[in-house]
Symmetry: D2
Subunit: 336 residues, 4 copies
Amino acid sequence: MKVGIIGAGRIGKVHAKNISLFVPEMEIKAIADPFMDEETEAFARSRKIPAVSRDAGDILNDPEIEAVLICSSTNTHADFIQQAAAQGKHIFCEKPIDYDIQRVRTAIGAARDAGVKLQIGFCRRFDHNHRAVYDMVRRGQVGRVNLIKISSRDPEPPPLAYVKVSGGIFCDMMIHDFDMARFLAGSEVTEVTAYGSILVDPGIGEAGDVDTAVVLLKFENGAIGIIDNSRKAVYGYDQRVEVFGSEGCAQDANDLPSTATLWKADGSVSAAAYKVMWDRYTGAFVSEMRAFADAVANDRPTPVTGEDGLYPVLMAAAAAKSLREGRPVKISEVDV
Amino acid sequence: MKVGIIGAGRIGKVHAKNISLFVPEMEIKAIADPFMDEETEAFARSRKIPAVSRDAGDILNDPEIEAVLICSSTNTHADFIQQAAAQGKHIFCEKPIDYDIQRVRTAIGAARDAGVKLQIGFCRRFDHNHRAVYDMVRRGQVGRVNLIKISSRDPEPPPLAYVKVSGGIFCDMMIHDFDMARFLAGSEVTEVTAYGSILVDPGIGEAGDVDTAVVLLKFENGAIGIIDNSRKAVYGYDQRVEVFGSEGCAQDANDLPSTATLWKADGSVSAAAYKVMWDRYTGAFVSEMRAFADAVANDRPTPVTGEDGLYPVLMAAAAAKSLREGRPVKISEVDV
Amino acid sequence: MKVGIIGAGRIGKVHAKNISLFVPEMEIKAIADPFMDEETEAFARSRKIPAVSRDAGDILNDPEIEAVLICSSTNTHADFIQQAAAQGKHIFCEKPIDYDIQRVRTAIGAARDAGVKLQIGFCRRFDHNHRAVYDMVRRGQVGRVNLIKISSRDPEPPPLAYVKVSGGIFCDMMIHDFDMARFLAGSEVTEVTAYGSILVDPGIGEAGDVDTAVVLLKFENGAIGIIDNSRKAVYGYDQRVEVFGSEGCAQDANDLPSTATLWKADGSVSAAAYKVMWDRYTGAFVSEMRAFADAVANDRPTPVTGEDGLYPVLMAAAAAKSLREGRPVKISEVDV
Amino acid sequence: MKVGIIGAGRIGKVHAKNISLFVPEMEIKAIADPFMDEETEAFARSRKIPAVSRDAGDILNDPEIEAVLICSSTNTHADFIQQAAAQGKHIFCEKPIDYDIQRVRTAIGAARDAGVKLQIGFCRRFDHNHRAVYDMVRRGQVGRVNLIKISSRDPEPPPLAYVKVSGGIFCDMMIHDFDMARFLAGSEVTEVTAYGSILVDPGIGEAGDVDTAVVLLKFENGAIGIIDNSRKAVYGYDQRVEVFGSEGCAQDANDLPSTATLWKADGSVSAAAYKVMWDRYTGAFVSEMRAFADAVANDRPTPVTGEDGLYPVLMAAAAAKSLREGRPVKISEVDV
């Protein structure tokens, strides 16, 4: 299966590398980026990608290419989905599809109507720890799901320039947790209440965002969800989920680089958490790409559908509105 | 120091036993309960308590008794505080003082005006694990406090008869967590949002309460708090706190009866949690009574003051109102 | 049941206190110590022990006293056992009975012939963690026992004066682990190999002892045991057991004062271990005394018999001989 | 750097795959195996290895090939080392070099005299957990090393056919632990005492081996080591190390596939250990090959030298002799 990669930034390169190393079913024929430069060309050569281009059209119009990976900036996702669908190509698209609900719906519809696969890049679903919790929940080992708790904290805030255009903490950071919450719950969220504070960097506040946020989720089935985010955890990347149900409680601990511990006079010291997201989710990126290859090659449903791409955007919109207006917001209020 | 115990129910007996075993500074002179029966009389003899009575007045009017423990039903607390204060006796009162804010204020004022010690029975402040987290926070080891998370789940719901009169989950269960949140934060709560569901027992819903509840707290200093409660955790008593700050994150794990683990073919199995609250907090009950004895004997401030008894009641009232009205409620709205 | 305590040193006082607090079936009538002083007399008063004496005979000859606790120096144990047995008194004796095998046998025989209970003070059998491992093993959860590993490390070496007379590390320290090994294995040791080094304090070497020791045990049933001891672990009292079998592996973690953890930039820090043995085994001392009271009151076998007192002494003798002669030593070689 | 692989069994293929994926400095030019078959040829094609052969000579005599990986059966290692050295090729050789001490010395000497790099395949030195413990020790965080404890248990015994020719548990299994012990101690072993039992499978006993073994090590610097091995741990691959010293204790926990835990009424269940060695040490195999590539490319000493290949063989010989003769055996007795 020949694939093309649109967007050669950090995430595009991660996927390219993972495909070349671990996804033998796929062969990258081309990579395109409007800012194509020498470094990316060298990267393409090192990964034996035969074609580079500044024009995504070269990929979208190449009849040999069966599937595309959309790794470009968010504002281009919806268009590229539509164009790729029009060309009958299967699509892996980084999250989020878009922040405009109508555009998201249109893009999803285009893929559906064209009968092509569409998978959204919610990589955490493929993480070994979260997946083990998910499996416990799906096997019924916690019984009926009553509470879901998700902690997600980054080692460092992103640059302020990014904060200003990212859509805010709910869109660029908590969106992963919105997806994780639905994934674990197996039920849709109907209402959201958000609390937010500026505790890490006043500059983030001046940029119109918060850096510490907590969101309550009401699920259709009565379960309640809690997500907390912080832009800065000095101890590193902190990612934990917990699902409490009628028959038990499944949870994972934060992932650490080693199990080594040092017992000293004033306490025992264990490893610090990962400081870099790519180290933390190395395996998850590989697994999601394998899953996409499998879906395309064996005509199976993708494990993260277009609809899975829509709902977290709705939740982010509701959270932002809740924070702004100081009240619970129903998903139906933002789902226009 | 001679003390009298008003109320010989479960908690009154626990305090009586702990005093007789572990608080040599105190000597229990009398125990009173309107439902005094043979079993309680036998208990008093076994603990070498010389006087039993059906009338709390026998204690309140005994000039030899320096301090009273008010362990009677909640609706009597405020009155007994006022009467004990009028007699110049130091007071340990079980939580909550009352659910009527005015009565709480009056009772606290009475103790203050009389110049007697008043300590409220928020025993969890004395738990070895929560205290260790508290110490880390107070020593500044987490830096500025940004997030507080508290999980509190009971092994079994109380009898429905109790649910009907207890004031609901916020008053009879989460009130401990409201206290813990303030204790850990070192800052006051200004606003509360509550979500609740009936997932454990429909009978609890019929009794007008929820059995699963999550509350968001907004603190004066910008920190955000999260409390989750469930009336039923099949795996036992689950009590965990986490304080995330600018310099680190302090947390405790649930307390287990042993550290033993069994590694088997299908996973490693560790001890189940405590199934009984009294087992879980054995040491905390002893420590709180020692602290009270110390405050009285050495004329030190009590570690849980009358005001510490007031705020959780306000938070419970706000949470109940938030759940009822489906919106965030400011503490000032209920603080009449 | 009236009891008398012979020996009012640290361990005698611990038992006295525990009985007065937690063993209502027992009443301490007298305590005797040749070095009886004011401090001990004050202690006796505080525990409401009516009689103090310098002469153990006052206890041994008191017909009202049903049971004695022998907490005096080791060299007096065997004689006191014989005298107490002659008076028909039940006996709790601190470990070890003696280091002379013949004297041990004679003492055990005296108790047996007199039909009195004899319990030896191997308190670790009653520890909540080790007991939980034991229970897993006895319930068959590890299947056939193949390996037993025991770590036992003290926070600080004892005074050199003690080292010179204690009989050495195998007698005064590892003897607990010898007992634990038999307890967990449910099989007798047939051979011992000891390695020892002086790594903590050269003074210990000058006193003729080692401060770091490892012993291999061969059990009758083919299982193999490993014990390691160090006189000094800077991180505190370290006590762990592991039983590996055909169906699984049971083990406990070192006991810590709290479950609190602090996540910082350079790692997560958990509580240091206990620095004081009495804190670590608080509950075990209570449980062993309750078990003795139960054995006497209900005419049940004691949970640590005279024979249980003999075997660890044999193992210690064999270990010392092995270290001296640089070869494996069979238990039969020292069992004269 | 062009490399050739001699031996296309399981371990040869693992190295080939890792090099093609993760070691860009190396290019595999040829793979040779006397039992070359279609499956291996297909494997070679899939990894883009241009040449396959039944004759190791084709690799040894190829002037383009700079380095060889010797992954053939143990009895061929020493000869191939000598031949490769004679051709001036750098050498990565699987452990052990040989069981004949003279042949080991000759092979090491040949590599030294030829001035080629020689690295032995003790992959566990590169494991993330063991390495973290090693780093703690080397940084001095445990102070002076007093005790080393290593547990190593396999999920299943190897086939009896293998047991008969492998040289026994000390040679084929504990040899990794002998290496680890030296690696962690930073001191040489002078004496060994071995205990062994047949507790897993009587067939192993009939084949002249034991399936459960414990070895005591005496180090030159006074430290004491303990290694325990079992051919069968039902709960999976169990690998733990502990280094206890004057300033602290470094240890790792067994590596688990996930951190997920399930809290149930009868206890909390964590993930079972890895059941397959290749899964457990995935990263270690990659790291050791990168280290070899680095040593060759940058003319650095290899991290596991020929001498590091010799000592574990001596320890295995001493352990076997100790078990046979029932006495401690000095390394000098087997170092002929």
